[in-house]
Amino acid sequence: MGGGTSSYQEVEDADVILLWGSNARETHPIFFHHVLKGVKRGARLFVIDPRRTSSAQWADGWLGLDVGSDIALSNAMAREILDAGLENRSFIEHATSGFDEYCRSIESYTLERGERETGVPAESIRKLAHEYARADKAELCWTLGITEHHNAVDNVLALINLALLTGHVGKYGSGLNPLRGQNNVQGGGDMGAIPDRLPGFQHVESDELRSRFERAWGVEIPPKRGLHLSGMFDAMDEGKLTALYILGENPAVSEADQRRARRLLGGLECLVVQDLLMTDTAAMADVVLPAAAGWCESDGTVTSSERKVQRVRRALSPPPGVRDDLEILYELARRLGSDWGQPDPKRIWDELRSLSPMHRGMSYERLEALDGIRWPCYDESHPGELFLHSRLWQEPLLGPRAPFSPVEFAPPVDELNDRFPLRLTTGRRLDSYNTGAQTTSYSSPLRRGESLDLSPEDGERYGVLEGERVKVVSRRGSVIAPVRFDTGLRPGLAFMTLHFPDEVQTNQLTIDAVDPKSGTAEFKASAVRIVKLAAAQPG
C-alpha cells in the first residue's frame, strides 16, 4: 500500500517537521496551516530545498542543497546518526531487515562528502541529523522536489531509510508523508490506475489476487503489468503504441521534453482526449469527448494526502453535450459490446469495496457520517487508520520486517558544463496550478506571468536586468522569457514554472530522463544557458 503514513493532525503534534523538496506554503497551503500550528506549539521545522522558499522563511533551519543531491544529504545524515549513536537500535532489531548492508552502503558518506556533494555545510547536515534522530515525534514530508528526478524512487527510499534508522514511522506523530499534487492522485493509485496494480494496491501479477477480479468481472485480465506514462511515450517512439485514450491530462504541455512529446502525440494513428477543457492536447486529438468536471458536476470520491477518502458531490449541471466521465465510459463499453447498465457511482463504489479489502468498511453512509475515512478500513466497525504501520511496533512483530534499501547518490542526468552552466529547476506558485488550464481563467492579483527567476548575482554576472527578455537554451530547446530576480535563489540556480504555456513553453527545456522505477521525468534539473537578445541597455 502506498500513501502518507500520518494524518495532518499528527503534524501539529510533532516535535520536528522536515519539509524535503516541498514548498508547502505555496503548493499545499492548508497543509501548511497544520505545519504552522505545530511550529506554534514548539515543533522545529526544517526545510530542505535548493530555493529559499516562503516555506523556508518559517523554518528553524533551511538546507539549500544542490538540485538532485538529496541522497548524498540523507546518506550523510544517516551516517552521522550512526556515528553519534542516535539510531533506534531496538526498533532496527525488532522491525527492520538489511541494516548491515545499509550501514556498509553509507560508510563513504561522511559529513565532508555530504558537504562536497550537496553544497550544504557539514555542520548543518550534522545538526539536522541530530534534530531528526533525537526527536520524540518527527514527521518527514516531501513533494516533487524528491520525485521529479531520474532517481525518484531511490530518493524516496533514502528518506524511508532515515525513518527506519530512527524509528520515526508507525507511531503517533512520526511518519513519512508524500504530499500529493492533485486532489485525487492518491485515489487514482488506490483505484489501480498504476501499471502494476489492481484496486486496493493488489498486484496484477499475483494469480491469486488477479483471479478474484477475473471471477467478479467475468473477464480475463492481462497477467502482466502495463506501461507508465513515460514508457508509453517510448512505446510510441518505437511504433509499438499507436492509439492513445487520455482522460484529464494535458501531456502536450506537461511532459518533459515537450517537442518530443508533441511529435509522438502527433504521430499516433488515433488520439482520443476526454477533458473538461479544450487543452492543447485535446486540440491535437482525433476525437474529443467533452467531460463534466469531476469535482463539482459529478458524484464520487477522492482520496487526499492523508489517505482520507472523501465524497465529491454534484453541485452544477454540466453544459449541454457534456457528459459525466462515467457516462462516457459506460457508453463506450456499450458500443464495444458490453452493457454495464446505468452508471451509478455508489454501486461502483460498493463493487470496489467488495474487491478491495482496504476499502471494505467505507460505505457511502459512513463516508457521509464521518466526513471521510482514512484507509485502510477493513469493515464497517473499523474507524480507518489515523497512521499506518502500527504493526511494526507490536510485540511480537506482526508481518514482514521493513527493509532498508541502500541507495547511491547519482547527480542529475543533464550535466552542467561551460556551455550550459545554469541549473534550471521548475516548480509551482501559490495562485496557479500545473499547466494553468484551470487557473488562468480566474483573475489573480498575485499573477505575474512566466519569468526566468535568477539570483541577483547571476543577473550581474550575465549582464541582464530585471524584466529583460532573454533566450533560455537547453540541450533540447529554447524559450524566451523575461528575467526576474529572486533573492531566494543562489548563484547558479534558475527557476521557472509550467503555468503559462501560452507565453513560455518551459517544457521545451526540461529533460525526459526518466526514473526507471516510477516513470517520472527529471523536471527538477535541466542545464541551461542564457543568451541575451540585444545589447545591454544603458543604465
Partner: protein, 342 residues
Amino acid sequence: MEKKKPPTQDRFSFNDSAPCPTVPVPPGPIPAPPPGTPRNRVTLTVDGKTVRVPEGSTLLEACKTLGIDTPTLCYLENLNPVNVCRVCVVELEGARTLVPACSRRVEDGMAIRTDSERVRLSRRMVLEFLASSVDVSTAPELQAYLERYGGQPERYGPATAPAAAGEPETARAGVHCPTDGQTAATVAQPVKIDNDLYVRDYGKCILCYKCVQACGEEAQNTFAIAVAGRGFDSRISTEYAVPLPDSACVYCGNCIGVCPTGALMFKSEYDMREAGTWKEAEQERTDTICPYCGVGCTLTLHVQDNRIVKATSPLDQEVTRGHLCIKGRFGWQFVQGKGKKK
C-alpha cells in the same frame, strides 16, 4: 563518486524486477492518538439550572449545553476569543462587571444569569451603538439580535455624512471633532475595490478583529492587515493603508470567511448585489472537495442558477477548519463556461 548511467536503455520493460507481493500484510492494532488528560467536571448554575461541564469550558459552552442561544459577533469556534464586541456578556454573581461568556472559563459554584435586565440592557446598548454607526444591512445575525433585544439605533439621530475615500485613514490618534449631539457618528465611507477577487466595505465593519486573526496567527499567518488608529477612528488597514495588490495579501479569503457583517465580500457577490441579482434564498450549498492539490479541502459551493457564486469551507471541518487558499476560494471560474467546449 559513483555515477549511475542515465536510464536510457530498455525503458520498455522497466520495473520488471519490482517485487510482486502476494502475501497481504496483516493489519496492526487500530492506531489511536495518545489519550488526552482526563478533565474534571465543574458544576455551576445558569439561570437557576444546574449544569456540569468539563473543566476549562467557557460560559458560552456551558450555556450551549442548556440550549441557551447566546449572541456573539467577535466569537468564532475556530478562533481564539478576543472579547471585543461585548455582546455575549452575562451576569456573574459576585462579580462587579458583566463578563464575556465567550472567554470566561467556568469555575465550580459559579452562578450566572444570561437574561437579566442588566444583561439585556447591556446587549441592547452594544447592538444599538454598532447599528447606529455601521451599515448592518448585510449582517442578518446582528439584525436578528437587535430585534431580540429591542434595539432602536435610530434614536441616536440621523447619520452624519459619509467620509470621503481615504479620509478615515488620515485620522490622527487623539484628535476628535466633538459631535453635535443630534446626528449619529458613523464609519460610512466608500467601498474599497482594488482587485477582482474581493471588496472591502469598511462602512460595514464592526471591528470584531476576526479578519485580523484569520489573516494573522490563527490561520493564514500572512499578517496583511491589522487594526490601525484609536477609539472611534480605529479601523482595519493594510500597512500604510496601501491597496491590497500592494500589500502582503495572498487572497486566501480567510478574512471573508470569518467576517460577520459582509464588510469583506467576494467581488462576485458584491457585483450581484449591486445588480440586484443576488438571491441568497435560492442558492443551494453543496459540499465537495477542492479540485486542486491533494490536501483534500472541503469546499462548500454556493450555487445560484447553476453558477457558483462563492466558495466557503465548514468551520468544523478537520482539514480546513473553515480556511482555504486562493485557488480553492476563487479558482472555480474554469467551470463557469469560459474555455469549456459546447
